[in-house]
Amino acid sequence: MAFTNYILVCGGTGCESAKADQIYQNLLSAANAEGVHETVQIVKTGCFGFCEQGPIVKILPEDSFYVQVKPEDSEEIIKEHIVKGREVKRLLYDKSESKKHARVEDIQFYQKQFRIVLRNCGFINPENIDEYIARDGYAALEKVLFEMSSDAVIEELKKSGLRGRGGAGFPTWLKWNFTKQVDSEQKYIVCNADEGDPGAYMDRSTLEGDPHSILEAMAIAGFTCGADTGYIYIRAEYPLAIGRLKIAMEQARAYGLLGENILGSEFSFDIEIRLGAGAFVCGEETALLASLEGNRGMPWPRPPFPAVKGLWDKPTVINNVETWANVPMVILKGGEWFTQIGTEDSKGTKVFALTGKIRNSGLVEVPMGTTLREIIYDIGGGIANDKDFKAVQTGGPSGGMITKDYLDTPIDYKHLQGLGSMMGSGGMIVMDEDDCIVDVTKFYLGFTVDESCGKCSPCRVGGRTLYNTLDRITKGEGTMEDIDKMRSCGYAMQKASLCGLGQTAPNPIMSSLKYFEKEYLAHIKDRSCPSGRCKELISYFILADKCIGCTACARKCPVSAITGERRKIHLINQDLCIKCGICYEVCKFDAVYVG
């Protein structure tokens, strides 16, 4: 019997963490119990992107978009929707309160998005190669093997203008061409899936939702550059993605799409998975290669570039997951098609992990040239809890902070760099009025100091110096000279560090000093933290005109610093107060004041 309904359950990490697998299992057993298991196909897909509203369940052909589904809702979905054909209204995405949104195309979150990289995420079962093939999967590899020369592949990539999505934005065709031109018996293809940027999960979602696209792209590169071996270097912290990759590789081998004589051609290519072990610096390509070789992940000076002399000194093409995911589409639809998306110097789309103080956290893919405002307000729905926007940080610890004044900047490589930020891998973190810029900058520096491999002194010593200075400033011990010192130290790091980590580590400081100098001055001159975040600089008070003496704060205070009788004004003993903020949180009368 043919299927009349399809239930797509999001199997991305966010939804899985919120018990999506249980929902999937419950749906299966409910379908069995109701006897509809032959007419409804239940599939676990990759990430839908709308993580804020997860777990997500979508039902076709009605295109019903259920959000925040719980395992116990499964039975109702089967009984009502599948058996009786009635949508479960209470689970539909309801944005405007007054109007029920049911269809995906009605949801504003998806309206400005354009999916190339995430084309299959949320559509196919990533553990079934047939579903990938049904959506033109491996057609690009076939085309390359039987209709194209390696020069033609390079030419197509060149025409497309595809640039690396992992950070610096190096033209992909050029990288491939370098490796192709080197005369060497052994060459390697490497996929950089060491996504260490805190607050970013684009690559993970791509691998979880569409693992075959990466395998296909790597095989295409193998054919083009003359390599027979590929490695996927992936974070050990991504078990779901690793598992799905393994399944995909097995299926591809069984179908003759990996291994000896692919599709009956002369070309042989296979891929192995190698695990990272939690070192951010290994996202830098030479450090990654050192790690692949089984060593400490320390970068080496370039040149020679890996494209010429890489893994075990052999020419190596190394691209990031998102770059790889674009390749089959470029081949299949042509470079010309790709150039129609994006801006003059940045073609195609970019995936961002939109998180922080945003209403709709999630994974978004937009054409290059989309403005920050469109992403934050139209797709992201604006700032959560009706707070004011303060800054957006792109590029993670290597990026910079961008202010309100620049929200209309189109996002592409050139513009972001011009603002002192960068594309980076695609983390986009939104901050609101409650976030202290100095504190967040310290957070980022703490991260890069932790992750510095220690090989070169500008990064090792400079990073620590900057961190210590920021630490003093957040404690109210900063001086005006610190500002200049941080600028010159940061500049030295940018110029003299060995690899991308050290060169970009000062970016959060440099950009925040540029756009938020006032906030630094408040910490230094006034010894105050305007956002009330830096503990050493704030005190909690009880406002006499607002306190009604409910005793809620006194009961919750972990150090008994609050005294006062019932129905009398309470008082905080500043000597005892540890500034944990619990009184502020529990007071229902806004009587606790931070200053």
């Binding site: 805190p198 607050g199 075990w312």
Partner: protein, 160 residues
Amino acid sequence: MAEQRDTEQITFSDELVKYIETWKHKPGNLIMILHRVQEEFRFVPREAADEVARILDVPLAKIYGVLTFYHYFKLTKPGKYNIQICLGTACYLKGADGLIEEIENLLGVSEGEVTEDEQFSFESVRCVGCCGLAPVLVIGDEVFGKLTKDQIPGIIAKYQ
């Protein structure tokens, strides 16, 4: 003469031995093998490192060089339940540091330490990748999202 170090005997399971055998002659195998060792013991005991050094015929110093470089490898035994607090940027902005304080107060241990009864250990980790659920805490396979401080005692009580 150097004193012979008393090394306690450690036994590798058959699966682990077999795994090492298949990887032994592959280039760049060390990290993969150490991952498998840690999977077996939940950390990499000194004796296991000795054994790996012997099997692969690489200096122990090289093994420790790798073990100490990467955050993922642990040199001390974690508690029965290892509590991980995500300190990715999204979680940090949404108050993960407050959760850390709360856990430290409740368990009486600092980050990286194990409680006396060896029930709990606690560490902060960098981005577990479900930023939509921030702030996030992970115990074993269980993920707790959108947390507030006052939910922590209840969660820990479930494991006590």
